[in-house]
Symmetry: C2
Subunit: 345 residues, 2 copies
Amino acid sequence: MNDLFLRACKRQKVERTPVWMMRQAGRYLPEYRAVRAKSDFLTMCKTPELAAEVTVQPVDIIGVDAAIIFSDILVIPEAMGLHLEMVESKGPKFHNPVRTREDVHSLKIPDPEKSLRYVMQALETTKHALAGRVPLIGFSGSPWTLSAYMIEGSGGKEWKYAKRMMLDEPELMKELLGTLAESVRLYLEAQLAAGADAVQIFDTWGGVLTPDQYKRFSLEYIHQIVSKLHRNGQPVIVFSKGANHSLKEIADIGADVVGLDWTIDIADAKSVIGDKVALQGNLDPSALYSSPESIRREVKSILQKYGKGTGHVFNLGHGIFPDVPVEHAQAFVRAVKEESPQYHS
Amino acid sequence: MNDLFLRACKRQKVERTPVWMMRQAGRYLPEYRAVRAKSDFLTMCKTPELAAEVTVQPVDIIGVDAAIIFSDILVIPEAMGLHLEMVESKGPKFHNPVRTREDVHSLKIPDPEKSLRYVMQALETTKHALAGRVPLIGFSGSPWTLSAYMIEGSGGKEWKYAKRMMLDEPELMKELLGTLAESVRLYLEAQLAAGADAVQIFDTWGGVLTPDQYKRFSLEYIHQIVSKLHRNGQPVIVFSKGANHSLKEIADIGADVVGLDWTIDIADAKSVIGDKVALQGNLDPSALYSSPESIRREVKSILQKYGKGTGHVFNLGHGIFPDVPVEHAQAFVRAVKEESPQYHS
């Protein structure tokens, strides 16, 4: 197996910097769109063969060093009893958002082997299809990020109801987050049992909080998950997009890898965090709109900032955009492969 | 005149912390919506009596310590020859975006006394209506933020075309930014001549850049404006939303006040920046959805973090949202007025 990714996560020696892309199984790939044309998004998530098919695509087509299971962070809230709909070109919608004490109390911690069995089957099918070529990453949303969608009922910008609950009913908010933390822990453990070689916690909306709120309402519950998670050495990646104010604290909760978006200099992140964890990131996803030459220049700049030695998993600072040309994604991965060996000699 | 705002900008002694809100002349006010019901947004900007009327409203209704002229950052690109349309519930649209060398070269630096005369008239009318009650703030978008809209043709998330130009044609991008910097400088000087007591540069999209890009393509051109701006002691406020990685550099360009969004602890900002400039911010605008009691608690927390002494202009970390209850905006301003005197005794 190409285990560069796992070794870099553990800060073990590598011959070159491994690379993968968030949302690499996605609409920028014609092969993905062909599958998607025949079935809707949630059906793809819930059909292990389809999920496995698109999960493997970027390994073959782009040459990434890890696969990440095709799924959605909102399958957990759905398993907890919320009615999830993916509205075309609008995003997710919950028809029964969580707004009151009764709403919070009615949520059940899902048994992942029952209500999320299809995710485990997708992992098993994918493992088989990958045949040991590259490691497979499982994932979950963070408690705060999941709660934001659950309370709001959809994606948002202001997060009106979620922030109102946080400020006006902090104890209720914490109860919800505690329930989610336990649900996420069980879900990630089930994914590891089903064959995931690593797991990532996506805290996509961590950056919309104040630093105080982030520590109390987001990081605290990610910490609970990571500290209780039963695992056999599989790395945990924590990515709180935009939470650059708290990198030191994130590095302290016991995760192996801290994800970085593109709004921080990776050299600064390294100097703040030290070498206790690996770093994942941090190319601006919009850089993939530029020419292969520009992409290579940006890759070289990040490699140079990170400098010599292991502990860097190259990635974008956010998911790849659907209208990025495939050749640009390929140029990105090629540039990492060709430019990074000199930093590991 | 209540000159608390101007004194705090200059770090002179004040009896209490002054407060105003970005987008305070806006849709959350029924009185604003009554004016808006009778004319479209751009007509309001271009009719000095209407602009003055809504500019003064929050002084009367909310009790803020400064007025900011009702206008839009995109009036400059329009004056440069772009065809601007405000699409209801969708945002601004330029029908002829700036994509090529020819597009950039065809842009003219506007004479603000001609093509933006209506803004100067609005300032003059507002000054008369305010009758010295509170200072009047003029403003402009930053070169980068204006260019992002001009290149993209609309608001964005990926800023595909703008970032592509930045990476693939940096010299062309710099030419555009240079033209914009000169246009903004002349525009701000005309506003000062028309009676603005202070000016703010809104770099709303500074935070979507990498730290390197921010310094080279955004801050550099704000610096050009501030260093060349002819003024008679009127304060300049620079607000690069999300650019918390470069606060020290922003504080070094000669502005009097640095704006903060809500994703940084104001105590940390103060310790990074020192006391060379005043700070403006930094309440999470979503906090205004919570109860007046919660709002007061958040206000107290920020006042305490900033601590004793002048140099703080209280504000939101971004514009007030249109669906905030008026009483909550009032509760915010009241809390600042009641809780801050103890920090200035």
